[in-house]
């Protein structure tokens, strides 16, 4: 129990700069809208109401946060092992495609077994994509940043192709798939909202990844590699193998995010199934301080921004792009608050205040 409270305290402490960054970004955004003759207070209130105002807004916030948890976890996990996985976007798309393949081919299989096989295949599809990146990096020296960006483009084109021929709806009208059969869908969690069981899955996923990273020998080795690959090699750890494992896990988790989005929200595959969840995931991971449990509140905040921005558009006619502006600024502020310069300044300021009060 004591260890658990310690973990919580450490996590809260490490999330402090993130919280400060979020508040700062919101304030700057409010200032920004005031130049366009909107009341900043009204704008912030609308965002707040739109994100947390009632049960429905809250459910929408959670709904938007769900895919971001997956991509955020994927990026955070890889980063802990010292790898920049920019490919969560492509892995997300591949996961969405895999579940569609299963979901549109009706089956009489026993539902739980069907689900298990389906999700294992989804995970594997993303894992394979990740392993390609790992193999290219370790055997051919290709930077993972380059290969993941390239694989994102490939995944996107593959999706487009799939929706124009093999996976396209029987009616052949739009570039979209048929609806998934009911057994492949995620059940509604709260009547009257769009909230689905995927929310629970991603929370469990976050907890599992936390256990893997901080409680299992495998995760320990991944963190050692992320912090000091040379020491890892000298300690007899097979660095290449672990890099491939990390990318496989990372890709698998991102793919599950794509599957959940199709099974829980859209019900069928579209070309724009991901409005850049993979890239936003990088921001979520950073805001969550690359900690699996920190990713949860970070994704929640970004989800709130998304649903708040919708309210902004509905009620005040302000473009939802504002949400993206805030997201961008959050990252800038996190980076700023991370600098030694800022910390030293803060310390000086705090001691100054302290002496002053005495």
């Amino acid at each position: 129990m004591r260890r658990f409270t310690e973990t919580t305290r450490e996590l809260l402490q490490s999330l402090l700069p993130s919280s400060l960054a979020f508040i700062s970004a919101s304030l700057v955004a409010a200032l920004l809208v005031s130049f366009f003759n909107h009341s900043p207070i009204l704008v912030l209130r609308t965002i707040w109401e739109g994100a947390f105002g009632d049960v429905y807004s809250l459910s929408e916030t959670l709904l938007k946060a769900t895919p971001l948890v997956c991509t955020g976890l994927a990026v955070a996990l890889a980063f802990r092992a010292g790898i920049w996985n920019i490919g969560a976007e492509g892995q997300f798309i591949v996961g969405a495609m895999t579940i569609t393949v299963f979901g549109v081919s009706a089956t009489n299989l026993f539902a739980p077994l069907f689900w298990l096989i389906m999700m294992v295949c989804v995970f594997l599809s993303g894992a394979v994509l990740g392993m390609i990146v790992g193999w290219l990096r370790e055997k051919r020296g290709v930077s993972e940043v380059i290969s993941t960006i390239m694989l994102n483009a490939i995944a996107l084109q593959l999706l487009s192709y799939a929706l124009h021929s093999p996976l396209q709806e029987i009616a052949r009208t739009y570039p979209q798939s048929d609806r998934l059969v009911d057994v492949a869908r995620l059940s509604q969690l709260w009547p009257g909202t769009r909230l689905h069981g995927g929310v629970i899955i991603v929370v469990l996923l976050a907890i599992s990844l936390w256990l893997i990273l901080f409680r299992l020998p495998l995760g320990f080795r991944l963190r050692v590699i992320g912090q000091n690959p040379r020491a890892a090699r000298f300690a007899g750890i097979n660095v290449s193998r672990h890099i491939v494992i990390a990318l496989a896990l990372s890709g698998g988790v991102a793919a599950i995010g794509g599957a959940i989005e199709v099974a829980g929200v859209t019900g069928r595959l579209y070309e724009n199934i991901s409005p850049g969840y993979g890239y936003t995931g990088i921001a979520v991971a950073m805001l969550g301080r690359l900690h699996p449990l920190g990713v949860l509140p970070a994704a929640f905040l970004f989800g709130a921004l998304e649903s708040g921005a919708r309210a902004l558009q509905r009620n005040m006619g302000i473009s939802p792009v504002l949400a993206e502006v805030i997201q961008g600024m959050v990252i800038l502020f996190v980076v700023l608050y991370e600098t030694r310069w800022f910390r030293e300044w803060l310390m000086k300021y705090l001691t100054f205040l302290n002496n002053d009060l005495k």
């Binding site: 299992l216 020998p217 040379r230 300690a235 750890i237």
Partner: protein, 500 residues
């Protein structure tokens, strides 16, 4: 004033790093038109002294005079203005820029420049200084020797009157050394002062006019090259070594069993040059076998190959079967913070580093934190590591305590063989004594230690026998009775009579 300096005088320079004294009051006199060799073992303080002169470190005490004017050199920029140039071992060139661009870097305030005009101008400068390099070549296409020449031209372009060369030959092939020496002689003829940092005796005798020998942060002597011989230089560089008494009363019980055998090893370094060239030895139970030599003689590559971290080009390493288990074959890497530890992890996590596979530290597949902490604590207590406990970050421990913990970690599995590289590097006297006692203890229990050390005193104090490496070759075998002069000659690349 830079155009008129004829001499630089450093007096009573002192410098501490933490509890380690790097320089304890060093005097040095540099003259224009003179090649001054600065000779000493690793850690003698040569580089530190020059970094102080060049404004990279601040001295704790002491004065620097340029032609009897006292100067304060607070930064490299000031040093350059005063007419100093410093060619460090690691070049500060930008690969993607051309030679000319590298040379003017930091000297021109212009926002735009014409590459053709620049290249023409710098080409003239290069030629007028007697070099043959094409100013338009990107630095990435140059050989190591050529890069070094660019560094020297860079210093000349900044109107350096005194140029410091930090171990300039250590990166060069033999024929490149000749070119460098020709360059040095030309610069000398032009009235430049040259400081030549090295630990190679032959080079010192070949090129220098005056020689200053540093040992353990003090200057032993400054003498004219005419008075120097390889023997007296080696003697003064290494100093008196008192062979410890206990080396004689070590008991050898029965025929010792060989645990590790290397035969005719050839090993490449990272640049694919031969770093270990035809080395053979046997390591038996109950002995401490030393490997002496100046830093970079191939010790790292040899140790890594033994640990299975580097492939062998030719020859063979035979190990006793049990030694393929890392717990039976302990390792102390040379650079603790970058190779042995994850500095931002806790002491306990660093304890786990080599043993994350060990089932002893698992419970139902999960890491057994209590057990890991307990073991880490045992090491902390047994090796009197000063720290707040297993949860403190390793980075926060002092160097000596990190090193004690490193040794404790390696010995915690009770290994049969320990490969230790500079186990007391950067460690104070008390911790050194504690570490030496532990190593002797391991030997008494029948363990074998392969001790790589650049500190000859340590080798003499601990080893039954040792061999000396120089540029990857085994120069000779020595025992406690072998004279330090002989060993010093081997270390600096001079073969002598084998006494063994």
């Amino acid at each position: 004033m830079s155009s008129i300096i004829s001499h630089i005088r450093l007096q009573g320079i002192k410098k501490h790093f933490g509890s380690i004294q790097a320089l304890g009051g060093v005097d040095l006199m540099l003259q224009a038109g003179e090649v001054h060799a600065l000779l000493g073992e690793n850690g003698a303080g040569k580089s530190t002294l020059m970094k102080i002169l060049y404004g990279l470190y601040r001295p704790d005490a002491g004065t620097i005079h340029f032609d009897n004017h006292p100067v304060k050199i607070g930064s490299a920029a000031v040093a350059m203005q005063l007419g100093l140039g410093f060619v460090q071992q690691h070049f500060s060139l930008i690969d993607n820029l051309t030679i000319a661009e590298n040379i003017i870097l930091g000297t021109q305030a212009q926002f735009f420049y014409s590459p053709t005009a620049l290249h023409r101008q710098i080409q003239t400068f290069i030629n007028s200084n007697g070099f043959t390099l094409d100013a338009g070549t990107p630095v990435s296409e140059l050989s190591v020797g050529e890069k070094q020449r660019v560094e020297i031209i860079k210093a000349l372009y900044r109107q350096a009157k005194f140029i410091i060369l930090d171990e300039p030959t250590s990166v060069l092939a033999p024929q490149e050394v000749e070119t460098l020496f020709a360059t040095i002689r030309r610069l000398q003829a032009e009235g430049k002062g040259i400081v030549f940092i090295t630990h190679k005796l032959d080079e010192v005798l070949q090129i220098s006019d005056r020689i200053t020998i540093l040992r353990a942060g003090k200057n032993v002597v400054t003498l004219d090259a005419g008075f120097a011989t390889a023997e007296n230089l080696a003697d003064m560089m290494i100093g008196e070594i008192i062979s410890p008494a206990q080396s004689s009363d070590r008991k050898m019980t029965g025929a010792p069993s060989v645990l590790l055998k290397a035969s005719n090893l050839k090993i490449h370094n990272d640049r694919l040059h031969l770093a270990v060239n035809d080395i053979s030895f046997e390591l038996a139970a109950g002995e401490i076998l030393g490997v002496a030599g100046v830093d970079g003689s191939g010790q790292r590559e040899l140790a890594e190959a033994i640990m299975g971290l580097r492939t062998v080009q030719a020859g063979m390493i035979q190990k006793k079967k049990t030694l393929f288990d890392r717990r039976r074959l302990g390792f102390i890497p040379p650079d603790r913070l970058s190779e042995a530890f994850v500095p931002d992890f806790s002491v306990a996590e660093n304890f786990l580093l080599e043993r994350s596979d060990d089932h002893e530290f698992r419970r139902a597949g999960f890491l057994a934190a209590a057990k890991i902490n307990g073991h880490a604590k045992t090491v902390i207590e047994n090796f009197s590591v000063v720290c707040k406990g297993p949860k403190q970050k390793l980075r926060e421990l002092s160097g000596g305590n990190q090193q004690k913990f490193l040794l404790g970690r390696a010995l915690s599995t009770n290994p049969e063989v320990l490969v230790a590289m500079n186990p007391t590097w950067g460690v104070d006297v008390a911790a050194t004594a504690a570490i030496h006692a532990r190593l002797r203890n391991m030997q008494k229990r029948g363990g074998a230690i392969l001790l790589f050390s650049t500190d000859l005193e340590e080798i003499y104090a601990l080893c039954d026998r040792f061999f000396v490496m120089h540029t990857g070759r085994l120069m000779g075998w020595a025992i406690a009775a072998t004279s330090a002069t002989q060993v010093g000659l081997w270390m600096t690349g001079r073969p002598g009579a084998t006494i063994h």
